[in-house]
């Protein structure tokens, strides 16, 4: 079977061959490096996953008749006798936003051909991401060990709180962890000079993933921690 990818003839081919030809030309539909398009499609599917998680959370919270635990109090920290609501979450938010900023600059320097600055900024991004995961591990430990929150019950109120919390932040934390690994691998390959001939679109693709992780956190922060 010969596949026609030329635009002028692809729409005249009948049957299966025509179908294949039409879809083969989708590289011309989207004028992007293929890896970037694939990343966008992956992120779109991930958007659906997180949207479904958050919609499920909305549904559960609307329909429960118990008291929903106040996140502002659940995630408060006592530092030197001072009661600080949501402090750790605020620090985590700023860590993630800062990492998004460094990532955006890394993409810029990559396209400008500045390898050294790209690697440094990507490394800072990965370190900030790792510290985010570390703080999340601390938060989980505190909640499980000190507050006695379980996926099926908790002492503060509605039992659904635990399952929603562990599922949504756990899935997000998994994404951050994967992102840190992804960033480290790409940063190492950039440093080694693997992309000198191919071009630095890969840094932008990695950046898209990283910004998406930050984007999801914006929604989790608003709907889970602040609502």
């Amino acid at each position: 079977m010969t596949i026609q990818t030329d635009k002028s003839t692809s729409y005249t081919e009948p049957g299966i061959e025509g179908l294949v030809a039409d879809w083969s030309s989708d590289r011309q539909t989207f004028d992007l490096p293929w890896g970037k398009l694939m990343m966008w499609i992956f992120l779109l599917s991930d958007t659906f996953i997180f949207s479904i998680f958050l919609t499920g959370y909305m549904n559960v919270r609307l329909s429960q008749t118990d008291n929903w635990p106040n996140p502002s109090e659940v995630f408060a920290l006592e530092i030197a006798g001072q009661h600080l609501p949501l402090l750790l979450i605020a620090i985590m938010t700023f860590a993630l936003i800062t990492s998004s900023g460094t990532m955006a600059m890394a993409v810029n320097f990559a396209y400008a051909g500045n390898k050294r600055k790209t690697v440094i900024l990507m490394t800072i991004t990965a370190i900030l991401g790792a510290s985010f995961v570390g703080m999340q591990a601390f938060e989980w430990t505190k909640l499980i060990v000190e507050e006695g929150v379980r996926p099926w019950s908790n002492p503060m109120g509605a039992a659904q709180f635990g399952s929603i919390f562990f599922m949504i932040t756990g899935f997000h934390g998994l994404h951050v962890t994967a992102g840190v690994i992804y960033l480290s691998i790409i940063a190492r390959k950039v440093a080694r000079g693997d992309y000198e001939k191919k071009g630095y679109a890969i840094v932008e693709i990695t950046g898209l993933y990283w910004h998406f992780v930050d984007l999801v956190w914006v929604f989790i922060f608003a709907f889970f921690y602040l609502w």
Binding site: G56, Q64, A104, G199
Partner: protein, 105 residues
């Protein structure tokens, strides 16, 4: 956009967006710190959330500078999510109502 000359923009725009994201995050944290309650709280949370999300998607993820074909690919499917949210909000309300009736008896 070929593979060699990708998205390149003045660095200043990233720094400005970065600063804006910091300020907006501080604002949304302040909503909680200052104990703003009720509809004002929810409105403010949503405004700051959408502003932050918008800045990340349009500037950091470069969607502003992408072609319309990609924008449609990214935003048209979100209609399905909006429909799901509306349906599940209605369903949640209904379940709450039936539970209230059941527990009152």
């Amino acid at each position: 956009m070929s593979e060699t000359a990708g998205q390149q923009h003045p660095i200043g725009i990233y720094l400005k967006v970065w600063l804006l994201l910091f300020i907006l995050s501080a604002f949304s944290y302040a909503v909680d710190l200052l104990h703003v309650e009720g509809y004002l709280r929810w409105t403010l949370i949503l405004i700051f959330m959408f502003l932050k999300a918008g800045l990340i998607v349009t500037i950091f993820m470069h969607v502003t500078w992408e072609r319309l074909a990609l924008k449609y690919l990214l935003f048209a499917p979100l209609i399905a999510i909006a429909v799901l949210i509306i349906l599940m909000a209605m369903e949640g309300d209904y379940t709450f109502m039936t539970r209230e009736i059941f527990f009152d008896q």
